[in-house]
Symmetry: C2
Subunit: 428 residues, 2 copies
């Protein structure tokens, strides 16, 4: 166990991080302090270019794979595998500036500190380091979310990702090509030049546990389970003024009953179940036409797989009632689902040691949100770290994390990455 | 009172009407038998061109006014005022092929029959005839509905209409210019070359009274009252997975409660109140974001002004409850409202006489839908005629009226127009 953690915090390093973060946050900035940089938009392209320049200026080799995951390679040990550190630079529409972007920037700074600091501290790397910006973690423009890391870990065929379209019908392949972000081949894995030794990610909590308890670091040990459905409510188009209520098969009335039922379900289970409808599209959406179809995205999350299954069954029963009440048909497709899963205990233990050694307050937390590490943790030794987010606000412009937390998070990430590069998780 | 009604029905005249209607219905045709020709789209432009050619071929002078109302002028008496006959060629998205288009085509055929037939029958015109295609009756692309006739009758300033934008931000002025449909000056009224002596319109019922009772002709004597509101439900953007239910200010939950409340209100009043939400737009509409805002169009209609006022008050109270329950704010704007109004009794009486003289079954009906005649009736002597629509289906591709009803409707329209041209409503 190294006894000399990497460069102790100094004001200059903190200032560099914060200055870079301010520069990065200006790209796609919204008036209320957020950013709008949805996947493969020009704004996403601008952040990628900014990162590429930053990395190249510091001697990293910048390369994208064939679904737009962006890497900055730093070779410390020729031909050795790479420990990846990163998150995502894409955002929600009117999203927060910390979500994802902080994790990528912190990884870049950590890798940069480590290159100089590791040798200076007399520590010996076993692996190389790659900063990673995963493509399309947010899934707002192209569904599903966590797309780049899903392809990277073999959960989604690259062709599926590249052929996915946004509402305007643009494919991922075309959108990535348009911003010059589509690589020609895989960078890691079988048939690719490099292999992966591990993954570490730092992210804002997107919950209020750390903020509430005044704790600096969250050791993520488990994910909530999630079911995401796409639903179509099918009715019949009619005239709003002329058509008798009894004759209507109003798809929007059916959809509204579903949204209300979804909330009722959450209220029934208390804090153990989150239910949401984030996207709802009405056809034809004319002021004087009874809607013929409503397409909805439902999102159910729980720390308990069993409770989620129970909620799923309850929803199914409610939909059958709504079909009768509104005289509509509800078609239901599961779009994306994951069970509650543990993060590798060895990774959690490593992060705990680092936090202790650095004197940073910490606590175990679960993640309700999905992250790229949700995909990576099943493939390679993985560590997931959280820093506080004020009042748990996220996917919103008001999302905020204090400078001190950003800087302390970087310290923990740097030392955790250093120990992974030294092989700390090999023994796991 | 003329004792020789204009050309009695003959098969050739019927065939011409039906052949032309089939040709017109092919423009913007949808797979399920409807049409999609929203105002000032290329498809609307194509129907306008088709009509212009049809009219010009038969000696009508075709001209558009400065908000895109299209006229086919037929001079019978130099310098005399004009009796207008028409409806609208624009449609809803995936709308029916009869709604509006039948009325314009029937007016063109009626005017054409009348030109030859009036003199042949030894009848003397006092007025000229103009076929009219009112711009943007539907209001699906540009709100509000009945826009062209509202400007024509002074209810809306032309600048307001021309500056109205669709969801893509295109103005009416630009859209009309793009299809070559924007005239340079007024055709009728003060400062314009012509004046108006009256207006007659024929339209499918958009209700099931005529179809149910097997009656051919509806004499429209009254409009339902209508309130159309635009509502904004304002909440707060948040993460669907991470944000505790108790912390949410979910605009879509508030909107769903409003849609359900709207239906409950209609159920409470029975057939005397129609309530609808036809358009609902979610912001930002991302699958994993709790919506910050929902914009809705609500539509309340009743034959009773008093009942509509009562429903309006009930809705206001319900919105206040929803604001508390969903922790949202509801902003409410009245967009468009009209009270229940009588059509001119002299016009109803004239249509009744014609129906009797032609041996066509008739009954008085109210209109639940708005029509251009709703605007015209307050300005000039007006007659509004309905023909049956099977099962009252409207604003939908399945909208259907039998050939026999189309042809008998044309006969009634032709003779009514002839009598108006002879001055039958001057005595009113």
């Amino acid at each position: 166990m190294p006894v000399h953690p990497l460069p102790a915090r100094d004001a200059a390093a903190d200032d560099r991080l914060l200055a870079d973060f301010a520069e990065l946050s200006a790209i796609g900035a919204t008036p209320a302090g957020g950013v709008e940089r949805q996947a493969a938009t020009p704004e996403d392209g601008a952040t990628r270019s900014w990162l590429a320049r930053w990395l190249a200026d510091r001697g990293f080799t910048v390369v994208a794979d064939r679904v737009g995951n962006q890497f900055g390679l730093l070779e410390l040990v020729p031909d050795a595998p790479y420990v990846l550190a990163g998150s995502h630079l894409d955002s929600q529409p009117r999203g927060g500036r910390f979500d994802g972007a902080y994790g990528v920037l912190a990884a870049a700074h950590a890798a940069d500190r480590l290159r100089a600091g590791l040798a200076a501290a007399g520590r010996t790397p076993r692996y190389n380091v790659a900063v990673v910006n995963w493509f399309n973690e947010e899934g707002s423009r192209f569904e599903p979310s966590m797309m780049g890391s899903a392809v990277f870990t073999g959960l989604m065929p690259p062709e599926t990702a590249l052929g996915t379209t946004d509402v305007a019908g643009t494919t991922v392949a075309d959108a990535l090509t348009a911003i010059g972000a589509l690589g020609e081949r895989d960078v890691f894995g079988a048939g690719a030049p490099h292999t992966v030794a591990g993954y570490v990610e730092i992210h804002i909590e997107q919950g209020r546990e750390l903020d509430k308890s005044g704790t600096t670091l969250g050791l993520v040990h488990r994910t909530w389970a999630a079911n995401k459905y796409q639903i179509s409510v099918l009715g019949e188009q009619a005239h709003t003024g002329a058509t008798a209520i009894a004759d209507r098969r109003d798809a929007l009335y059916g959809a509204a009953l579903a949204v209300v039922a979804l909330r009722d379900l959450a209220d029934r289970y208390g804090e153990e179940l989150h239910t949401s409808c984030g996207r709802l599209t009405v056809l034809p959406n004319s002021p004087v036409v009874v809607p013929r179809e409503v397409r909805m995205h439902l999102d159910l999350r729980s720390p308990s797989d069993a409770l989620l299954a129970e909620a799923d069954a309850a929803l199914r029963a409610t939909f059958a009632e709504i079909e009768v009440k509104a005289d509509v048909r509800i078609e239901r497709h599961v779009a994306h689902t994951w069970t509650g899963q543990d993060y590798p205990p060895a990774g959690v233990a490593l992060a705990r040691e680092v936090a202790r050694d650095l004197g940073v307050s910490f606590m175990p937390v679960q993640t309700r949100a999905g992250h790229d590490s949700t995909n990576l943790k099943n493939a390679v030794p993985t560590v997931m770290l959280f820093i506080p987010s004020v009042e748990g606000i996220s996917h919103a412009e008001a999302e905020f994390t204090a400078d001190a937390d950003l800087c302390r998070g970087l310290d923990v990430l740097t030392e955790t990455l250093a120990r992974m590069v030294e092989g700390a998780l090999d023994r796991a």
